[in-house]
């Protein structure tokens, strides 16, 4: 035994535990678990937060056995491409078994964060009744529940601090879920119901806000009228984060004047979002808030035209995060570049989803942003066109990208000036941005871009590919080169069996691989599944006409494989075959 180990073993476990308390990052905690048995035991018994990136990689019993005292659970369900309708509705990702197991085993759950999972009202009710210390529920892109489930949460979670509903499909029974918060509930810190479609009782909302003096974050849905917003803001001038659902009024009415006055007093609002319904002529009342804003999300507000957007943004000098629609135009992005010198994250979403070509941003806007915002490290950019020259310039200007996602509205569009593939442009990005962790590519792309990615993207963890590449070589460059790759998702690209089977061990180092509309065959998937028992190789077969299993040489339409400790899942629907 070395000296270091002797010294460390001398410390009682409580000391080790105290030291480990300072380790907040999961990676650090995972690392210390590997040092020796006693560290493993101390760490596992003291871990409070558990993160599970794929709910089917483990089961609740295994998690509880290893971490008996955790209080916070994060679970992710469906694969990312489910966001874009590529995964059928009943694929899976149910939270019910998790809640049942946690309740049965006496876990003292305080926080639950779910993404792309199916959550039923029954699950929410069980959750609300099983954990007396439950404090925080965050649901992102989930489905399967209604406002009845929310009513259970409101009624039963006595110490609820956070109810955060982001972009969920919720069945709104237009009931009185909000009125179910008892008068004794004063603990709310964060309430986000922007994604709900129905009305809430305005008086109940006002009373709730008035008694929750610690409320910092409030995001309303579009059914909350302006008068109610005004009354709420009078009660809660301490808000940091405000989501305004509906901002429609005649600027000459009295309620508007009152609102204008109260907004001037909201000095602590740092984050603003919403504006699903908006009268642009009312926007000047927001100007006083702009000076302090660090985060602004107007990506659900197509009603605000470029001119009004510019008038707003020009006042937001401290902005660090901006989510916007492409209605802002290249000119508007130039204003952002000139004004928002602290900008770190930019997302430009398409306003015209039918791709008719009225999109208003091009490579010029991106170049302007890269030149004007030196702190930029994360971008999602939907654009009409792109050039290699622009991407090369962006790479030079911004070597600090951690996330770079480019989406051309025509997925196979070449360089707008030279008509060449966009390989060199993306090549410049991966070469320059040494810390790049997430990349999405689009436009006309050959195997060459993947050669660059494999060569330079050493820190890359997630890669999204669509309509790109010429041959298996492309995929091979990535699999061989990107040592830290965790998630790879590919659609409509000519990668086939040779690439899939070249390094089967690689997939155990990754969380998951998605391939749809590629060239892999059923036989190759079977081979892979046979060789790698600790992978689930799922084939999603939506072809109803097919009788029995396809022949080995048939192409597979959708394949999703992931590493797992617990074998094939038992809740797979009939159209999902685990090989």
């Amino acid at each position: 035994m070395c000296l270091f180990q002797c010294i460390m073993n001398y410390f009682p476990e409580e000391v080790l535990e105290h030291v480990f308390d300072f380790l907040t990052s999961l990676r650090d905690r995972n690392a210390v678990s590997l040092v020796c048995k006693s560290w493993y035991n101390v760490e596992r018994c003291s871990r409070k937060k558990v993160f599970i990136g794929n709910c089917y990689a483990v089961n609740p019993e295994l998690v509880i056995a290893r971490f008996p005292r955790f209080q916070s659970l994060t679970l992710k369900g469906k694969p990312h491409f489910a966001d874009f309708n590529l995964v059928p509705h009943d694929w899976g990702g149910y939270v019910q078994p998790w809640i049942e197991a946690l309740a049965k085993n006496g876990i003292s759950l305080e926080e639950l964060r779910l993404k792309r999972m199916v959550v039923s009202d029954e699950s929410l009710e069980l959750l609300s009744k099983s954990f007396p210390n439950f404090k925080s529920l965050t649901l992102v892109s989930c489905e399967g529940f209604s406002t009845d489930g929310l009513a259970a949460i409101a009624s039963n979670c006595r110490y609820l601090r956070e109810l955060d509903l982001q972009e969920n499909e919720v069945d709104d029974h237009k009931g009185h879920w909000l009125s179910c918060f008892p008068d004794s509930c004063t603990s709310l810190v964060s309430l986000n119901f922007a994604c709900l479609k129905g009305e809430v009782n305005a008086a109940a909302l006002e009373r709730l806000i008035a008694r929750c003096r610690n409320l910092k974050s409030l995001r309303l849905n579009h059914a909350v009228p302006l008068e109610t917003l005004q009354k709420i803001l009078v009660q809660a001038p301490q808000l940091n984060d405000l989501g305004i659902g509906s901002f429609v009024s005649d600027p000459y009415t009295e309620s508007y004047f009152k609102l204008k006055a109260v907004l001037q007093k909201c000095k602590s609002v740092k984050s603003l979002s919403g504006f699903l319904d908006v009268n642009p002529r009312c926007l000047p009342s927001i100007y006083p808030i702009c000076t302090n804003l660090t985060s602004l999300n107007l990506s659900y507000a197509p009603g605000i035209q470029s001119n009004d957007l510019i008038k707003l943004i020009i006042r937001c000098k401290k902005l660090e995060r901006l989510w916007i629609l492409d209605t802002i135009g290249d000119k508007g992005l130039e204003v952002v570049a000139a004004t928002c010198k602290e900008l770190q994250e930019l997302r430009v979403f398409p306003s015209d989803l039918h791709g008719v070509g009225n999109a208003a941003v091009t490579e010029e806007g991106l170049v302007a942003i890269s030149a004007g915002c030196p702190k930029l490290n994360s971008i999602l950019y939907f654009c009409q066109q792109m050039t290699n020259a622009a991407l090369i310039t962006v790479a030079k200007n911004c070597p600090n990208f951690i996330r770079f996602r480019l989406c051309t509205l025509n997925p196979v569009i070449p360089d707008a000036v030279t008509n060449q593939p966009l390989d060199d442009g993306f090549g410049a990005i991966v070469q320059s941005c040494k810390g790049l962790k997430r990349l999405s590519v689009s436009g006309l792309l050959t195997d060459q871009v993947f050669l660059y990615i494999g060569m330079y993207a050493e820190q890359l963890e997630m890669l999204s590919i669509g309509f790109a590449g010429d041959s298996d070589k492309g995929m091979l460059y990535v699999l061989n080169g990107c040592k830290k790759l965790k998630k790879l998702e590919i659609r409509d690209s000519p990668f086939g069996n040779m690439a899939l089977l070249s390094d089967v061990g690689k997939y155990e180092t990754m969380r998951s691989l998605w391939m749809s509309s590629c060239e892999v065959t059923y036989g190759a998937c079977k081979t892979l599944a046979e060789k790698m028992p600790r992978l689930n190789v799922e084939i999603i077969n939506e072809n109803e006409e097919m009788e029995g299993r396809p022949k080995d040489k048939h192409r597979v339409e959708k394949m999703y494989l992931y590493r797992t400790l617990v074998g094939a899942r038992k809740d797979a629907p009939p159209f999902v075959w685990t090989l």
Binding site: F81, D83, F84, N85, L86, S141, E167, N168, E169, H222, F247, V248, F275, L276, D277, V278, N279, P280, Y300, A301, P302, G303, I304, Q305, F349, P350, S351, L353, H354, G355, V356, G357, F382, C407, N410, P411, V412, I413, P414, N419, Q420, P421, S440, L444, T446, G466, F467, A468, G469, D470, S471, R491, D492, S493, P494, S517, E519, H554, R555, E557
Partner: protein, 187 residues
């Protein structure tokens, strides 16, 4: 796409395809938008002469899941586009008055009923519109409010329920009473 590549590989064997498995389609030319799984794709610059009747390229149909935008976001934007009242730009319509040197614009969204609208118009143009009656329209008024509806017809303001009016009104014209024969007056 073949014209772009510099290497001499046989690309046909591994070329990018956007069709159903088992079908054998020509690849898209790079500048036209991709069609969704459509067996009858043709590159728009290489039409067969015999198919010249259908000259225009296929409509820009959607590729499933492209652009990659979350369904939630798509649904919200869709609803806002279907529901013009909520897109925030208001229901602005032009208002002309016979004899006035220029037109005005008003936002129909901010008026709750015909009474508010007509009062506002009277104030804006300093004219006298009077009171509507179903039988005789604005009989006797100096000025008569009319509007052009979605079908392009000129209608008398006041006949249909308010909500129906606001959704079908494209522009307003305040006619001189003397010219308004046949629109309800003196019938």
């Amino acid at each position: 796409m073949e014209t772009v590549y510099e290497n001499g590989l046989n690309l046909k064997a591994t070329e990018l395809r956007l069709g159903l498995p088992g079908t054998d389609n020509e690849s898209q030319t790079q500048t036209s938008s991709p069609c969704v799984k459509n067996n009858n794709k043709r590159s728009s610059s290489e039409m067969d002469t015999e198919k010249q009747e259908s000259v225009s390229p296929p409509p820009k149909t959607q590729v499933v899941g492209w652009p990659p935008v979350r369904s939630y976001r798509k649904n919200v934007l869709q609803q806002q586009q279907n529901n013009p009242e909520s897109d925030g730009s208001g229901m602005f319509v032009k208002v002309s008055m016979d004899g006035a040197p220029y037109l005005r614009k008003i936002d129909l969204k901010f008026y709750k009923n015909y009474f508010d609208l007509l009062k506002a118009l009277e104030n804006m143009f300093k004219c006298n519109i009077g009171v509507y009656s179903e039988r005789e329209g604005y009989n006797g008024s100096e000025f008569v409010p009319t509007y052009e509806d979605k079908d392009g017809d000129w209608m008398l303001v006041g006949d249909v329920p308010w909500d129906m009016f606001t959704t079908s009104c494209k522009r307003l014209r305040i006619m001189k009473g003397s010219e308004a024969k046949g629109l309800g007056c003196n019938l």
